[in-house]
């Protein structure tokens, strides 16, 4: 069921449209990750969802009922939000977490218990009496999360809450947040430009670019079946190869990419121009002398052009007669290019998952 939905929302600032959403909904008890590059309109979207920014056009519905502007305080109080910076108020850590409850008139023993429980949840209970503005970045961010979660909101809006933190702390906090949200059944909109964060927390992902919704779907849909080249790029597909459907059978579409033929299960009419999207991790590189697995489609011979050492893995660029394809090298690969050269092929999945017609009506509908 839809908790909060937007319809025909347009936000214009200084003559420039910064958000234009025909439709987007946040479902009950789901985590919707909103991803996109800087300037995509992600933060504006959150402010609109929290009724802090008034859109120039459009309708917002809370549980199916249209919300007037200004939004009633009762509805705003069912939502809480954290910003990219913790934005802690003066006073102690405890004061900060208590403030939202105080605004709602909860001042008794029960409120104190709730504050302490929230502080414990994010492991900052020992900092309760410390002045909030003296906390470290990680502590401040935990306090900001506790301050938002203590209100038991029906919808939690998080604007890149861990952007300023180091990777290990970020990963740890993300896990804590995920558990807290799931355990309480809170709906959540999580804005990030980190693809990995989105995938680790989201039930659905919405991709925004220049204020427009490019695609919304399950992580698998967005990852494996991008509806536009921009989504494919943002999902770090790695290989986006323009081609044409040259023929099709009942089960497979044959796509001509340069001199090569690729095979896909995506059903498309003959002559349709497409982008074949091949994720790096789906490519298997094999030297000519190695034992071959079971035979299959989508195998190409090529030459290694470059090898980039990424530490735990290696990235190999191969010219297979069309565009060079970066592929992850095997862990045991020697650090020189030559032994890897001369042959490569896709597998073990023989058929491409991502294939999209660049000018299909479906794509236009979703833009």
């Amino acid at each position: 069921m839809s908790l909060l939905s937007l319809e025909g929302v347009e936000v214009v600032r200084e003559g420039r449209t910064i958000l234009s959403l025909p439709r987007l909904e946040v479902r009950e008890k789901e985590v919707l990750a909103v991803v996109g590059p800087t300037g995509a309109g992600k933060s504006t979207l959150l402010r609109v969802l929290h009724f802090l920014d008034r859109p120039e056009a459009g309708v917002l519905e809370w549980r199916g009922e249209r919300v007037p502007w200004p939004a009633p305080l009762a509805i705003r109080r069912r939502i809480s939000m954290t910003f990219q910076d913790p934005l802690l108020l003066s006073g102690t850590t405890y004061d900060n977490v208590f403030y939202g409850l105080h605004l709602r008139g909860h001042n008794g023993h029960d409120a104190r218990e709730r504050v302490m429980a929230a502080l414990r949840l994010f492991h900052v209970e020992h900092l309760a009496d410390q002045r909030a503005r003296t906390l470290s970045g990680g502590e401040a961010q935990r306090t900001a999360l506790a301050r938002a979660v203590v209100l038991s909101p029906e919808l939690l809006l998080l604007d890149e809450p861990f952007a300023a933190l180091d990777a290990p702390i970020r990963k740890h906090l993300l896990e804590e947040l995920k558990q807290a949200v799931r355990a309480r059944g809170i709906s959540c909109v999580y804005v990030t430009h980190e693809q990995s964060e989105a995938f680790s927390i989201a039930d659905r992902i919405a991709v925004l670019r220049r204020g427009r919704l490019l695609q919304a779907g399950t992580p698998e849909e967005v990852l494996l079946r991008p509806l536009s080249r921009a989504v494919a790029r943002f999902m770090q597909t790695g290989n986006i190869l323009p081609g044409v459907v040259s023929s099709r059978t009942e089960a497979l579409s044959e796509v001509r990419v340069g001199p090569c033929l690729l095979f896909s299960r995506t059903a498309l009419a003959e002559g349709t121009p497409v982008d074949a999207c091949i994720r790096r991790e789906e490519i298997l590189v094999e030297a000519p002398g190695e034992a071959s697995p079971a035979p299959g489609l989508n195998r190409f011979r090529g030459t290694v052009e470059a090898v980039v050492d990424l530490g735990s893995t290696m990235q190999v660029r191969i010219d297979a007669g069309f565009a060079g394809l970066p592929a992850p090298g095997p862990h045991h690969a020697p650090r020189r290019a030559r032994p890897l050269a001369e042959a490569w092929r896709r597998g073990p999945r023989d058929v491409l998952g991502g294939l999209r017609p660049p000018h299909s009506p479906r794509r236009k509908r979703n833009r």
């Binding site: 809480s80 934005l87 301050r147 209100l151």
Partner: protein
């Protein structure tokens, strides 16, 4: 120094009059700064938070008002309260309330201007964060007052300092009537005009001590909060 002491001893036999002048000064400026804060702080917060057509003009007005010549204020308040003026019927001219009104006009732009600067000095997203925690408009304004309280104490000190030491406007609208509208500054002017320089110096010293004491109190409150 001898002159000062003899002057003081001359004044001491009439402590009632001196106390009256002192209390009236404090009353007029105290009420004026209270009204200025009550009007100026919300106005400064509003200007700091909202963008609307004509805001730039209003900010320019406030900035101009911060340097308003007290004599000009006195003139306009005089014309406003004069028998033939729009508020002549209230019969306020040459009363302490006329002096309060003049001082409110002088202090309010200062309070608005310093509050505006204080609000703009806070993180622009802080008010969104406060709203996102469920604050109503009133709760938001109150929280912002608390967050910007150090600067607001400065507004209080600047506003009070400007009106307790002001003479032109209160002279014009109050008239310096003995026992009714005579305050410290107008008393100093009178003593100087009469050639009673020693008395004027004593009154000036008391006024300076008063200003110093009050500002010390404001500073103490401000620094205590900072700590």
């Amino acid at each position: 120094m001898t002159g000062l002491l003899s002057s003081l001893s001359e004044l001491l036999p009439m402590p009632g009059e001196l106390a009256g002048i002192l209390l009236l000064s404090l009353f007029v400026s105290g009420v004026a700064i209270l009204v200025s804060m009550l009007v100026g702080v919300p106005a400064g917060i509003f200007l700091g938070l909202h963008r609307f057509p004509g805001r730039g003009f209003l900010v320019t007005l406030v900035n101009t008002g911060m340097g308003l010549p007290p004599v000009v204020v006195g003139l306009f308040v005089f014309l406003l309260l004069a028998r033939s003026g729009p508020l002549g019927g209230l019969d306020l001219l040459y009363t302490p309330w006329a002096m309060v009104l003049a001082q409110v006009v002088i202090a309010t732009p200062l309070v608005v201007g310093i509050t505006l600067a204080a609000i703009q000095g806070l993180d622009a997203r802080l008010h969104l964060q406060i709203l996102s925690l469920g604050a109503s408009t009133g709760q938001l304004y109150w929280k912002l007052v608390k967050e910007a309280r150090l600067s607001l104490v400065a507004a209080l000190a600047a506003g009070f300092g400007s009106i307790i030491s002001e003479v032109g406007a209160v002279m014009m609208v109050g008239g310096n009537i003995k026992g009714q509208t005579r305050v410290m500054t107008t008393a100093i002017v009178l003593q100087t005009r009469q050639g009673e320089f020693a008395n004027a110096i004593v009154l000036g010293t008391i006024l300076l001590a008063l200003a110093l004491g009050i500002n010390w109190l404001f500073t103490w409150v401000q620094q205590r909060q900072k700590a």
